[in-house]
Amino acid sequence: MKTPPAQLDKTTFGFWLYLMTDCVLFASLFATFAVLRANTAGGPSGKDIFDLPFVLTETVLLLTSSFTSGMALLAARAKVHKQVFFWLSATFLLGAAFLFMEMREFTHIVSEGHGWRMSAFLSSFFTLVGTHGAHIAVGLIWMFVMMFRFSASKISANDLRRLTLFTMFWHFLDIVWIFIFTIVYMFGALS
């Protein structure tokens, strides 16, 4: 079935509202992190456990994937089938690399004996960054399913709608990451 423009408009607005609710969810986690960040209870502070060059690499990976997801959308709108698949694969690989690095960071911190049970600071750190990571994981599953669709058949209106929503989701996650990068890692390295 074809998706009429009114349908697309309604769906993108609904999805935008969902993103707004996610914004507030992250805001609650940010507020909690900000209140608890000094409560290290004898454990390490952010300065002790953050590896800044590592975090910068993660940031660049995610930012680039945000860009490539936009390219995928443009290619899909122009109905250039091969390019969609290329840009989407690039986005998937960059996203997967980001998630892999984040998991490496987590396992590293935990293996040094600084798990989330240790202090309020560590609890809020793992929860805030982990929630973002969980969203990334959902995005990866989403992309995986879409790549099958784009490799199998030509681009339908519904596929285009899914891709439009996905890029909104992916850009949103990059925006959340700007603030995680700034408030968790950069502020953490300073104080």
Binding site: S66, F67, L74, F181, T182, L190
Partner: protein, 121 residues
């Protein structure tokens, strides 16, 4: 959905957004690692850089500037930002006020462990 407005194609918008975001990220990173300013100034600077990057991505990636009237996306976004500010800064204000009025945390903890017999996990 128009591809062209303000003389810029969507492809160029993505490219400009990407490069600007990259630049802003590197700026705040080098501000922190090089310790050019004292901590308070650096924090204020990189917080502003983050807000600028937010605007960059909203315009060049999410194309909020190209939305047609009645701008529901923009309006709901501004509403959400308002709530965000109230929630985050309100919480910080309230919690720091509680902190100031109530006992220093470390003393309380010691007292609880020593006299009440509760132990840390």
């Amino acid at each position: 959905m128009s591809t062209k407005k303000n003389g810029m194609s969507l492809r160029n918008a993505y490219l400009v957004g990407f490069l600007l975001s990259l630049l802003l990220t590197l700026c705040s990173y080098s501000l922190v690692t090089r310790h050019t300013f004292n901590n308070a100034t650096t924090m204020a600077l990189i917080a502003s850089l983050a807000v600028i990057q937010l605007a960059v991505q909203l315009i060049f990636f999410l194309h909020l500037d190209r939305e047609k009237r009645p701008h529901w996306n923009l309006l709901t976004f501004l509403l959400t930002v308002g709530v965000l500010i109230i929630l985050v800064f309100g919480s910080l204000w309230i919690m720091s006020n509680l902190d100031y009025n109530m006992h220093p945390r470390s003393d309380t903890e010691e007292y609880i462990i020593k006299d009440e017999g509760f132990h840390k996990n």
